[in-house]
């Protein structure tokens, strides 16, 4: 297995974490990080642990050496951007409209409602749902669909709602499920998913 070495000496926080994150995203092998202060050591260790990696810390070269092995333990939390080391199959659902398909709006809305209901009841629900454009109405003004999404959230799904879109439709105060997110986080979540279903 390949090994990547990242020298973070002389770098100010949060740079060591960002370089570690980048390295983990680019390789499936072990990433070894050298830092020269305790804050950077603790930060990189926390980041890697939160991302579900195994970390060994040792003193070396006047600083600390962190040996980071991806994916043998489950992530402790549901980190926003720490998906680099997660294992298993992750499904993301990307919803950019209030309705499924382009036919009669009424039919499309009914289809969307049953899709979200079925997802909430499914044996293997999606791990991430992203709501964009008029899709944000499904987690704000539409109480029925919001209820299904809330259920998905309670079952552990990460629900990301586009903040720009909420602003655009003036719905920021009316969020019933999920949390306000941004393009950076959404892009990271979609890129980290093993497969994405677009509706």
């Amino acid at each position: 297995m390949s090994e990547t070495y990242v020298d973070c000496t002389g770098l100010k926080c949060p740079e060591p974490v960002m370089r570690t994150r980048q390295a983990l995203a680019e390789t499936e092998g072990v990433v070894t990080v050298l830092v020269d202060n305790e804050t950077a050591r603790d930060n990189v260790e926390r980041f890697a642990t939160t991302s579900g990696c195994d970390v060994q810390v040792s003193r070396a070269l006047g600083g600390f050496l962190l040996k980071i092995k991806p994916g043998e333990t489950e992530p402790e939390a549901t980190p926003v951007a720490g998906a680099a080391c997660e294992s298993g199959s992750l499904t993301a659902v990307f919803i950019s409209s209030e309705a499924i398909g382009t036919g009669e709006p009424e039919l499309g809305a009914a289809l969307m409602k049953s899709f979200l209901y079925a997802s909430a009841e499914a044996d293997t629900p999606p791990s991430t749902l992203v709501f964009m454009n008029s899709g944000v109405k499904l987690v704000t003004v539409n109480g029925e669909t919001a209820e299904s999404v809330k259920k998905l959230e309670d079952r552990g799904a990460e629900v990301l709602v586009c903040g720009t879109c909420l602003d655009f439709y003036g719905l920021k105060d009316r969020l019933l499920a999920g949390r306000v997110s941004n393009m950076y986080e959404i892009q990271t979540a979609l890129a980290a998913a093993d497969r994405t279903i677009s509706l």
């Binding site: 926080c13 060591p16 974490v17 603790d42 926390r46 980041f47 642990t49 903040g163 986080e185």
Partner: protein, 323 residues
Amino acid sequence: MNSLPEETAPELLSSALSGEDAGVYLLSERTALVQTVDFFPPIVDDPYTFGQITAANAMSDIYAMGGKPLTALNILAYPCGLEVNVIERILLGGHDKVHEAGAVVAGGHTIEDDELKYGLCVTGIVDPAEMTSISGARPGDTLLLTKPVGTGILSTALKAGLIDEDGMRDAIDSMVELNARAAGVLSGYDLGACTDVTGFGLAGHLYEVACASEIAAELWAGEVPLFGRVLEMLSMGMATEGQARNRSYTEDAEVVTAGGDEERVDCMYDPQTSGGLLASVAAPDADRALAELRAGPCPSAAAVGVIRERGPRLVIRSGRGDR
């Protein structure tokens, strides 16, 4: 900086060199001048918001001393090539905040520098009889905090691109908020010490209060309100170097924590920008003061500790009952 000569003028009632929030200079029996200066690089992306936060932060020292700001001078360092529009927005944010405080911008000074920095030098007045300081804490006082903590961790996460400004909206709104109304509420009660929570973090500023007042402080980490996503961002490795500096600065502190609270204790050392007021209030007044703060300007205000006569200068516990 122990090598600097000590100031001994009798009119100097309080000096920032001795750890106070601002310098206080007696002009007449009922009037003293309060002066403070603060500047730093941007901690949010939006220039207008940065200007507002910087001004709120600078004037906070005046409120912590029980004073009222009168005039402010801008200090600006900007890299050549920065758009004029950005500079205007920063200065407008500062101007609007100064005016909200009932003060005026009387001028300023600008230089070119590699990194953008903005700040203000603020002058205010205080009645010496009403002045609050960090040295007045009394055994038995309850410690009240008027804003949540975690702005250092969130600003680092913003710099790292892990969150955007919408993801830390509660912290930004809080940093923009003046401590004027909080100070107004507190002044109605029996106050011991008062300070504002900034670069030394909550634990660092409380440690200063404890040393200046020559008493022992106890901080309940589990009772301290945190902004949303602070713990999440800490677990993503978003602690600042300032946090470690603050921890080593308070190395006398006996830290007692229950299991699993290590991260909350870390937050006690997180450097704050435009943080809340930390006040020691006589115990019989504390509940009413807290209720008035919560119903009014500080919905997140909390009782976060107690002052004791004896013990280590600072003890950090998980909660009020933990021993």
